[in-house]
Subunit: 349 residues, 2 copies
């Protein structure tokens, strides 16, 4: 598998996006966000997406020079519309505006309707936390409905992810980011390709029976919410917030299949002031100092794995499967670039 240093790979990615009609400022930011997903240990949201985005530019679903617009705004709220723009742009702008509003109004809520893929939700919690805010973001709705509600056997819900971030003091911040399905579909696909079983509780077969055979998902099976009826309840809550609270009546059209809802809170909103960061440190330290259970090395907090991955991958380089990189080069050729030149930029040669 080819391995790339971060800066050259970012430059090559931006070059490919640019050749597809993406203005330089957008291409540069998008390349950094994609590669940050690879660095964070979430390659499903990383460079692999370039091929998809270029195909979607070609078919008109993505308009790479477009920018998201603010539909409505108040002291405590922002509603954005992503349109044909890269969804990341709407997510970034929503995050920044909500954090700025929360500094004045203590709390602000917002949403994005009609939006392309916004990338890794944790990216926006990290951004909000770097600006000093407490932040919650959820995305969901009746999009790719491959997940059965608790007690059901048909796909009627999407993966509906949630992310939460809170600043700490001396400790690293808490950055939570997960899908409310029991497992990412990509991991079940990997197990199928390897010919190994998956843990119980992740899927049902096409008869609605629990299965540990990953092939069953691809034979009209369904995914399950994490954590039984509790995870299902959160998955449903996320659809109500992300899709129903945001999606409708901006243009009078039906709700967006997948919407985004976010909330920023000033750390001093309820009067805890600088004490909030200090108390978060105390919580984090208390939890991390728990003796590990058999089979575990240590207790982690949300955000630790991504931070650790970023250090490791940045040092070792971003490794991409041959197929992923060859697809990117093929996409580059389609928008008129010389694949050899793109490869040379990416390898820093």
């Amino acid at each position: 598998m080819p391995t790339f240093a971060v800066e050259p790979l970012t430059k090559a990615t931006a070059r490919v996006l640019g050749a597809a009609g993406t203005p330089d400022d957008i291409a540069g930011k998008l390349a950094r966000w994609l590669i940050n997903a690879n660095l964070s240990g979430h390659p499903s949201h990383g460079v692999i997406r370039v091929t998809q985005y270029l195909a979607q530019i070609k078919d008109g679903a993505y308009r790479p020079a477009e920018r998201p617009r603010v539909v409505s705004e108040s002291e405590t709220s922002v509603v954005m519309e992503g349109g044909g723009a890269f969804g990341h742009l709407a997510a970034e702008e929503l995050t920044i505006r909500l954090v700025e509003k929360s500094r004045v109004s203590r709390v602000a809520v917002g949403g994005i309707a009609r939006c392309n893929h916004i990338g890794r939700l944790g990216e926006w919690s990290e951004l909000a936390v770097s600006m000093g805010a407490v932040f919650l973001m959820v995305a969901g709705g009746p999009g790719m409905m491959r997940t059965a509600p608790f007690g059901g056997r048909e796909g009627r819900m999407s993966t509906n992810p949630i992310s939460f971030g809170a600043p700490a003091g001396d400790a690293d911040p808490i950055i939570l980011d997960f899908a409310t399905t029991a497992a990412a579909e990509g991991k079940i696909r990997v197990a199928r390709d390897k010919g190994v079983e998956i843990p119980p509780g992740q899927i049902l077969d096409n008869q609605g029976r629990p299965s540990i055979n990953p092939n069953d998902l691809y034979d009209n099976g369904v995914m399950l919410p994490f954590g039984g009826h509790k995870g299902y309840g959160l998955m449903l809550m996320i659809e109500l917030l992300a899709s129903n609270l945001v999606g409708d009546t901006i243009t009078g059209e039906p709700q967006s299949p997948i919407g985004t809802f976010a909330l920023a809170i000033d750390p001093d909103a309820l009067g805890s002031g600088a004490g909030f960061a200090a108390m978060n440190d105390a919580t984090i330290n208390r939890v991390k100092q728990t003796a590990a259970a058999p089979g575990f090395d240590e207790v982690l907090v949300p955000g630790d794995i991504e931070r650790s991955s970023r250090q490791t991958v940045a040092a070792a380089g971003v490794e991409l499967p041959d197929a992923t990189w060859n697809d990117v080069l093929a996409s580059a050729a389609e928008v008129g670039l010389d694949p050899a030149e793109v490869n040379a930029i990416a390898t820093g040669e």
Copy 2:
């Protein structure tokens, strides 16, 4: 087991609370909230608590005539202090104030510090939804720390419950209400008393090993968060919001062991207007019409079980274990009432 009609049991409960020094208006409301927990199928938060509350009045932790106070308030926020008052009162007032603020400001956040037991969280989501709001409430912090963080083997976290409510149109509202532990401690206790095993994933024994023997919890074992690392992440998020964001600096004292955080959002905050209720109906109908998996009769949504329980129990009467009712009568005697008279009120004789 004695069985009581709702109104006489409410009257008897209020009488006992009143004899312990609770003003009539508070005793009446508290009795209704307690019995609503029994009706909703959550007897752990119901009449059984009277004995505990009277003991806590006796030892001074509860001051039954006290009322909670608003510590600080803005257009978008409320901070309350429960003090020695029944915690339910602070939760009710916080909920009402947040919903009223959210009608003007679109969103409002609040918290309660230094507060007694606030009862069933779903009660306050139901109240907020009946007033038309979208509502989130979480409670938690370093109180009764019998739950191990994911990967750990020592009790370092509390049960940290979450509740969410959203109004619908023709459909019943969504009312989510659960602890972020895998199981309620009370259910593990019941399994122990019956001598039956518990499902995997609920507890670790005192060596940190997974166990299905409920006795292991009571031999220095620990409870587990629901849903593995994802449920653990939510449990941690709840502590940061409920305890750390609210607890400190009101009086300069250390944080409250268990705090409460809540958020009210106007359904039109992000412009979906009346469409929100209609879209929630569509979501609820889509999910409920999912074909049931083997072993299930139907797909439910959060709130269905409590609504169904209220109908059934209201018709059949509130059944209390002998021990529970005898304890209430003994508590009544301690505050100068004739147990026979209390029993006569409760049975409507």
